[in-house]
């Protein structure tokens, strides 16, 4: 009697979390995987097993290929830049300068704003002719540019926004990490007469590596996960030049109502993310700790 009670209580305690996790994470994930092998059922057309059809048609789907390429460029462009910028900002606001609180606040501000609001603000920045950016560049004799209406500039324009939005958040982590570094290190280095750059390169940067790994994982996930600005600013256009993977999944699922194909796309997206996470945790994690 006593023994069974001991078994039941922990399970009961786990139950709420288990139910929620199963209902909203595990079951949907498994269902997505299963659905990806079937054709989308319509009112008068039942679901039919189609095997790997969705996966093979992806290869000849120009929009999927464009989305994959765009997302790769987007991740490669935003992640290192956001990391470098946030590290720089953290170092600036960690030093004893005047107006430090104000600077910290202004660097962090973009993080506080909701993405939809930010996207609307930047929509105005990018307006051709009388938007903030064109007005500013006009002072130096640059011509009006259709930033979001030109396939050559649209993805870059979204990337700039993403970096600006992300960097402030990552700065917080670097700031915390910087304050963990013992001041004795810099005092010792100062006694030895090392330059500031040398000290950063050989001491600060290596000590920040675990934070960098954490930030990098988050930044990469965000580059696949955050698409609010795409919806507000470009809706993937022009001609899919700014379509990111998740935005395409959203379109296929909730605009085209092809939920089966969307499931297959989701499986691919998850596989890409799992692979990236595996590489980062499995390979990099062993190298980041300062020994």
């Amino acid at each position: 009697m006593k023994k069974t009670n001991n078994m039941v209580v922990p399970w009961l305690l786990l139950l709420p979390a288990t139910v929620l996790l199963a209902a909203f994470t595990h079951i949907p994930a498994v269902m997505t995987f299963i659905n990806s092998f079937y054709r989308t059922p319509r009112g008068n057309r039942p679901a039919r097993f189609v095997g790997m059809d969705h996966y093979s048609s992806m290869l000849s789907d120009p929009v999927f290929m464009a989305a994959l390429k765009n997302n790769a460029i987007y991740a490669l462009g935003t992640v290192p830049a956001a990391i470098a910028l946030s590290m720089l900002m953290a170092i600036i606001v960690n030093s004893a300068i005047r107006g430090r609180a104000l600077m910290r606040m202004s660097f962090f501000l973009p993080t506080v704003l909701p993405m939809i609001a930010v996207a609307n603000i930047w929509l105005f920045f990018y307006t051709p002719g009388y938007g903030l950016i064109d007005q500013f560049l006009g002072l130096f004799g640059f011509h009006e540019r259709n930033w979001l209406g030109d396939p050559d500039t649209v993805l870059g324009s979204l990337m700039v926004l993403a970096i600006w939005k992300e960097a402030g958040f990552f700065m917080i982590f670097y700031l915390a990490a910087l304050q963990q570094i013992s001041p004795t290190l810099s005092e010792a280095a100062a006694l030895e007469g090392t330059s500031r750059w040398y000290f950063f390169r050989r001491v600060t940067f290596p000590l920040l590596m675990p934070t960098t790994l954490f930030v990098m994982i988050n930044a990469i996930i965000n580059s696949f996960r955050l698409i609010d600005h795409v919806i507000v600013m470009t809706r993937g256009g022009p001609d899919n030049a700014s379509t990111l993977l998740l935005y395409y999944v959203y379109n296929v699922a909730f605009r085209f109502w092809d939920t089966a194909y969307a499931s297959a796309l989701t499986v691919v997206l998850l596989a890409v993310l799992a692979l990236l996470a595996f590489v980062q945790f499995g390979v990099l994690d062993r190298k980041v700790h300062y020994k």
């Binding site: 002719g129 256009g237 030049a241």
Partner: protein
């Protein structure tokens, strides 16, 4: 937020419905989903209309549910339908008809139309609006709010370059000629005013349809299974549009946003624009100069696109609720209400008898511009509407964007689009 309130309202409605089932004399309650795609106090207008309807039909209660944009409305309605709790009536795009039929989500109006008066009501809509509402000889939706595109010009700019400010360009060649005069280039090559601007972000196929109609072509046939994207008429039409930007250099290159297009007009950065008739009031209120408005210029003939929302009755609800929904839709689209809705929102009243009401006559006398959409009705063509319509319209939008941004030649872009459309529609052909 919207979806949450929608769900909560839906849940509450479900509970009240259960309660209503018990009491015999209780009025029939129906849910009405409607989107808001324009500015103005639409929610208030809808609630006023419903209050008046309930006064005249005391045995019917209508619960209005504001359901976001058009795409959000169909998402919510279909999700609710799949969960077994569809709204009784919803306003969704007329071009969503095939999607709704394929999902088996709606019922045709023909089953409810019995009396002569009801038959006369159904026949009173302009035929062009009914093409997007009929399939297989049945009527699946009735026009609730419809729009078209109109041509606007800045009279001050016309005067400045020596054009007659009272006369807009009447055909494609005149548009190019006028626009060339109106385009103002600074010494450094920067353009401070474009002659002509046509919006091209989102549903740009709509604008293309106007050009195709003027070129005596068709973008798709009426079966909903065949598009004609690569036909010579469509290619020529897109080529003309692209040439405005890249050959004649009188239009801003790249994709032009719907929202910035009227703004450019107000700021004097675009001398002539095409935009939706829904912008009439906006332009009337905000243009700081005298402006002209007319129907679209012709080429081989006149032509103009239509768009907008239909009211649909849902499948999977009790027959007496469907009947109540029918009474509501009929009342809402009868002449007086159609005229009132048109005056207050700027949408085109979809029936001739609505234009003959006293309220409409008084409005037109006060603001003659309101008559321009009516003048265009004889030239309108049905909107592109096929099975998997969202996907097909995205395909053609992509082709237009690729051409306007000079990534592809129009002929190439359209031939690619046609191949893709054939692949998608293959399943629906017999």
């Amino acid at each position: 937020m919207n979806s949450w309130t929608g769900w909560i309202k839906g849940a509450l409605a479900g509970v009240t419905m259960l309660g209503a089932g018990a009491a015999q004399a209780a009025p029939v309650e129906i849910n009405f989903y409607y989107p808001v795609a324009i500015g103005g106090p639409v929610t208030k207008i809808v609630e006023d209309l419903i209050a008046r309807f309930e006064g005249q039909y005391p045995d019917i209660r209508v619960k209005p549910v504001y359901s976001g944009t058009y795409p959000e409305t169909i998402s919510k309605a279909l999700t609710a339908y799949r969960a077994g709790q569809p709204p009784e009536v919803a306003v969704m795009l007329s071009t969503d008809m095939y999607t709704l039929i394929d999902e088996d989500a709606i019922v045709p109006f023909d089953d409810f139309v019995r009396t002569d008066e009801e038959k006369a009501w159904l026949e009173g809509f302009f035929p062009v609006f009914m093409v997007n509402s009929a399939h297989d000889g049945k009527t699946w939706g009735v026009p609730f709010q419809r729009g078209t595109t109109l041509f606007f010009w800045n009279k001050d700019a016309f005067r400045e370059v020596g054009l007659d400010p009272e006369k807009g360009p009447q055909n494609w060649d005149e548009v190019v000629e006028f626009a060339t005069k109106l385009t103002k280039r600074e010494a450094d090559g920067n353009v401070s005013r474009w002659g002509m601007q046509v919006p091209s972000s989102l549903t740009s196929y709509w604008l293309l349809q106007g050009y195709v109609a003027q070129n005596d072509g068709k973008i798709a046939d009426e079966t909903g299974t065949q598009t004609h994207f690569d036909s010579p008429e469509v290619v020529e039409a897109l080529q003309y549009w692209v040439d405005l930007a890249h050959k004649h250099k009188v239009m801003k290159p790249g994709v032009i946003e719907w929202a910035t297009n009227p703004k450019d007009f107000f700021e004097g950065r675009a001398a002539m624009i095409t935009t939706t008739s829904g912008n009439l009031t906006n332009i009337k209120t905000n243009a700081p100069f005298p402006f002209g408005v007319q129907i679209l210029p012709e080429h081989k003939k006149r032509g103009a696109p239509t768009s907008g929302g239909n009211a649909y009755i849902f499948n999977g609800v009790a027959p007496e609720k469907q009947e109540a929904a029918f009474q509501f839709v009929k009342w809402l689209s009868s002449p007086e209400q159609a005229a009132e809705w048109s005056i207050k929102t700027g949408y085109i009243a979809a029936r001739e008898d609505a234009w003959a009401t006293d309220a409409m006559k008084a409005y037109v006398a006060e603001f003659p511009g309101a008559l321009v959409p009516h003048e265009q009705i004889p030239y309108m063509v049905p909107e592109l509407s096929t099975h998997e319509n969202q996907r097909i319209s995205r395909v053609i939008d992509d082709a237009i964007e690729a051409s306007l941004t000079a990534k592809k030649e129009p002929a190439q872009a359209l031939s690619d689009a046609q191949k893709e459309a054939d692949r998608i529609l293959e399943d629906y052909r017999d």
